[in-house]
């Protein structure tokens, strides 16, 4: 289960402004990846390009042998049936109640009877903890509920790839923690490929198998979680540890003067790497690697205190 996404040399610009260029990465089948980046670096644009809502200027996105960047509209609609996408605000259809929203893809794409539809919808609603709210309209529920409802709708066609556009934006820390656990449990259950776009560091540090970082119109780094969390590369280090010292400035990258002023400053030591979030039944996911394996294999010494607790190096309470 799960499908690999191969992204090759992808570039996208709006008018003359380059959003990002030469992005090459492979999202491995069945694994959870997180795409990070400062605000305004085109993370959502990247996501929309992956599902063919935006056409890249060059490069290819190959999924099961089809190149999304150049295939026909018909093929695109066909390949999209592999996808489930959770949009930022859930993107529920405002005129339908939650039940009809979740049932919508089933009614449009399958010839299931209404009772079969009901069984599937109820199963997914149960999965995201929304049983009892089927008759509510999207306007009547909180942002967190809308997100979960959006997730239920994204899952209803049993997707091979699930994309999350900022699942944690606008949610309180507790709900974010629950949602993260839900994401990990879902991955354990359906083995689909997950790609999460976010700038929440707690999510990025504990949830994924792989992390990518978009910065300054290119992909700064993409690799296993432990590689990025133990990386000394200035941009990666600054972002993943939420520091002010480093190449990323308030508006965009810092200018030469600011960087020169920082030259003498000593960087704080890398915080310990937390344990990865386990599924709630305690059985490791199929794509999950043992803690510290990547560091051992690649001869990298993780920061002291790593892999000892699940909230090392996180904001308090997370």
């Amino acid at each position: 289960m799960g499908v690999e996404i191969q992204v090759n040399d992808l570039s996208k610009s709006f008018g003359k402004q380059l959003i990002w260029g030469d992005v090459t990465l492979t999202v491995p089948a069945g694994e959870i990846c997180v795409m990070l980046g400062p605000s305004g670096t085109g993370k959502s644009v990247f996501l929309k390009t992956l599902i063919g809502l935006l056409k890249p200027d060059k490069g290819s996105i190959v999924i099961e042998g089809t190149d999304i960047a150049s295939c026909s509209e018909r093929e695109l609609y066909e390949i999209r049936k592999l996808f489930g996408v959770l949009f930022q605000d859930g993107a529920m259809f405002g005129s339908m109640n939650l039940y009809d929203n979740v049932a919508f893809p089933l009614r449009e794409h399958t010839r299931k009877s209404e009772s079969e539809v009901r069984d599937i919808v109820m199963e997914k609603m149960d999965l995201v903890g929304l049983l009892g709210a089927e008759d509510k309209l999207p306007g009547e529920i909180s942002g967190g509920m809308r997100k979960r409802a959006g997730l239920a709708r994204a899952l209803v066609l049993d997707p091979e790839i699930v994309l999350f556009d900022e699942p944690d934006s606008g949610l309180d820390p507790v709900r974010t923690a629950f949602l993260n656990q839900l994401i990990v449990d879902l991955n354990a259950q359906i083995d689909a490929t997950f790609l999460i776009v976010t700038h929440d560091i707690n999510t990025a540090r504990t949830v994924p198998d792989n992390i990518g970082l978009l910065y300054h119109r290119h992909l700064a780094m993409f690799g296993p979680r432990e590689q990025l969390l133990s990386s000394e590369e200035p941009v990666v280090r600054q972002f993943l540890n939420a520091q002010r010292v480093g190449p990323i400035g308030m508006s965009e990258e810092k200018d030469a003067d600011e960087l020169a002023a920082e030259a003498g400053q000593e960087l704080p030591p890398l915080p310990p790497i937390p344990l990865q979030l386990d599924p709630s039944n305690g059985v490791p996911r199929r794509s999950q690697r043992p803690a510290g394996e990547w560091c051992r294999e690649n001869g990298v010494t993780p920061p002291p205190g790593s892999f000892e607790s699940s909230n090392a190096g996180l904001a308090p309470g997370a």
Binding site: Y77, E78, R80, F83, Q88, A91, G94, R153
Partner: protein, 257 residues
């Protein structure tokens, strides 16, 4: 500089491409019957009353104007015929179009624009459903259907209004008014009015859908889209009306001419 000067041409091209997409969507199955009926009902419900209310003074003004003019020529017995011609050929389709664009089109643009900025349209595409086939085609057909029937209603109400004003205010004789109906007017005049209404409904729905689906930049973008769609529709409608009238007058010779 050139790119900014040429921008309107690009927009016109995009609008035309969108219209072709809609044309292609017309023949794609399954046809969204439910959406079509809902939309037709909705558009009818927001346009019927205002259209009827506009039609009465519209017919009256034409009757007064034409009646006054014709009196000066000393051809009172043709008043009925002249106002029927004016109402059926011009006033009815134009009045219909104004209301279809103003009430129906603005509602369509607002609805689709709101869906666009809430990412509902993206979500729909990602769920493997083409919004043009699912949402736009039923709206376009509904608009055309409602325009067709509204045109009939405006014709009847307009002619009746003209009759009342001619007989009551201008001392016309009811018999002469009715009897002259067929003196100048002919059946093709009715057809051209209906064809115009269909074309205007088509234009109004396509412009409104295009503008709504391309709304950008949050709630203000939706407002702009509605505004632009109404203005552009009006412009296009009057041009289309001119062209259709010209073609008609060339193709069908006036009676007794």
């Amino acid at each position: 500089m050139t790119s900014r000067a040429l921008a309107p041409i690009g927009t016109a091209g995009n609008l035309f491409a969108f219209a072709l997409d809609v044309g292609r969507g017309l023949f794609r199955r399954p046809f969204q019957l439910r959406e079509f009926i809902q939309q037709a009902w909705f558009i009818a419900s927001v346009t019927i009353v205002p259209t009827a209310l506009v039609a009465i003074p519209f017919g009256a003004v034409i009757a007064l104007q034409v009646g006054g003019l014709i009196k000066q020529f000393g051809a009172q017995s043709f008043t009925g015929s002249a106002s029927v011609l004016a109402v059926i050929q011009q006033a009815a389709p134009i009045g219909t179009a104004l209301l279809i664009a103003g009430a129906g089109g603005s509602a369509i643009a607002a609805d689709l624009g709101a869906r666009k900025i809430r990412e509902e349209l993206d979500a729909m595409m990602v769920l493997g459903i083409d919004p043009i086939q699912r949402l736009v085609v039923p709206r376009v057909l509904a608009c055309m259907l409602v325009a067709f029937f509204l045109n009939g209603m405006v014709s009847v109400v307009g002619v009746a209004g003209g009759y009342v004003f001619n007989v009551v205010l201008q001392d016309g004789t009811p018999g002469a008014y009715l009897a002259s109906f067929t003196a100048l007017a002919q059946l093709p005049d009715l057809w051209v009015g209906l064809v115009k209404a269909l074309v205007f409904g088509l234009i109004a729905a396509i412009v409104a859908s295009y503008k709504g689906m391309n709304a950008e930049g949050g709630p203000k973008g939706v407002g702009d889209a509605v505004n632009e769609s109404v203005v552009i529709t009006f412009l296009l409608l009057f041009v289309a009306n001119f062209v259709l009238s010209m073609i008609y007058l060339q193709v069908v010779p006036p009676k007794g001419g």
